[in-house]
Subunit: 269 residues, 2 copies
Amino acid sequence: MARVRGEKGEKSEKNEGPEGAAGPAEAVGVAAGNDAVRLLWGPRPKPGRGPKPGLDLDRIAHAGIKIADAEGLGGVSMQRAAALLGVTKMALYRYVPGKAEVIALMVDAAIGRPPEQDAAGATAPGWREELDGWARRLFDVFRLHPWLLEATVGPRVMGPAELGWMEQAVSALDGTGLTGAERMDAAVLLTGHVRAIAQQARAAAPTSGTEAQLGAVLGALLAEHGGRFPALTAALDSTRETGGQDEAWEFGLRRILDGLAVLIDQRPA
Amino acid sequence: MARVRGEKGEKSEKNEGPEGAAGPAEAVGVAAGNDAVRLLWGPRPKPGRGPKPGLDLDRIAHAGIKIADAEGLGGVSMQRAAALLGVTKMALYRYVPGKAEVIALMVDAAIGRPPEQDAAGATAPGWREELDGWARRLFDVFRLHPWLLEATVGPRVMGPAELGWMEQAVSALDGTGLTGAERMDAAVLLTGHVRAIAQQARAAAPTSGTEAQLGAVLGALLAEHGGRFPALTAALDSTRETGGQDEAWEFGLRRILDGLAVLIDQRPA
DNA sequence: TGCTTTTAGTGTCCGCTGGACACAGTTGAC
DNA sequence: GTCAACTGTGTCCAGCGGACACTAAAAGCA
């Protein structure tokens, strides 16, 4: 396996200034961009002369995923991942230049390739049904790996799997008369909704203390300070368990698709 | 000032298990819920007998904001914030039970109260104009404090300012025939779009290395692996600088408002 | 006025993190 | 058979969030 760090001095440049003084550096910073691209998109350097590598990027990614699924992204550390693989943490640095890249690999592996959807008979489904199904499948992924939300904030490089999802959404809009930019914007719009609801679902998840505790907190707050938020109070009162986040998901999805339909209908095909 | 930690043993409960074994614990975890509620919503305990407090929650929040604005959320540590205020980091723990609460305070202070918008003459603006302006103003806030994106992932308690924004959006839909739940869902939908574009804008921000580097990376990737992503390649080729993220913002906003209009028009007022 | 109690800020300590670096042992190529 | 490349380990470091004991200041009460 080829050296994972380029020039050995390259990595040290990260430490310039007191704290980097520029980027978030929190998750997958852009500083890791080039490295991350190489790791995500290959080519994976073939083993050369030394001892056989005991690990590979996939195993590392899945070790991280296992931890993150069980304990959240905060539970993922180089130590824990390495321990899960039966090596010391420094062994991981033979495969990956830093933690940011581990997370990038985790993200792409966890998102996974989008399932093929055509088949299902001879009738072509139409853009609306396709996008609807696409959004639901993506939502399922975020529900399965809630930490994906935190892991995908900030500037980062998309991996092949993630790009595959984008491809599928954009191609669902082929032949609708929308321009290329518009098709991509539509995919971004849908992704935003998926993320928004996934986030809201996580807040109400039973993992978080006692049941839908946060919703209760909101209710209590409005009960106490309701005077300052009349419209919210009224809205919440008139709701009272109409459906919860499932409703928000369906509502937003329908609104977005309706909005797209308005545009598509007035376009010459 | 009253003791900030309740029973002194309460805090230790956080350390149960190897790593909490439950929550993300990364940002503002739900474990901080009760404390965060007290700090965000008051009542602020009035000073009692001891030495005069040299700080207050607002100053702490703004110190954190200053750092985060300059260096990103990753640059915010108790040490740095305390140093900016001229005290040791442990002094902060007299006001705040932990870092999570500092971030919660930063978030609410940075989001700020939504500007009043009525006035502007006698003509009532109508829900569409109101929501449009609302979304743009919220977007401005996220552009001003990009770290808000990272700071607001995960389950958390909303502060008065944040709830004020929600209030404004919901009240803009009063009288449209939408149910309370639907009005809230619409607000969530818009917020999701604001966040999605804010995130995408951050990726292309000049802060990140050389200019819109990440967009270039995407282009290079598609140039190399374009065969696997035909629809994306076509979309991106047909685009070529049609406008960038501004277009995505306008596109999504219009689509959402169109979708809402479809629903509202078919509702009896 | 003086004493006592409450409290603000400090200093010290701990476990953990991500990462640099030097080293030992294994392997393939010549 | 020798050598160069490479994997995994051990050790070290600065920085992090936070617990805890301590000193000093201020207010209430006698």
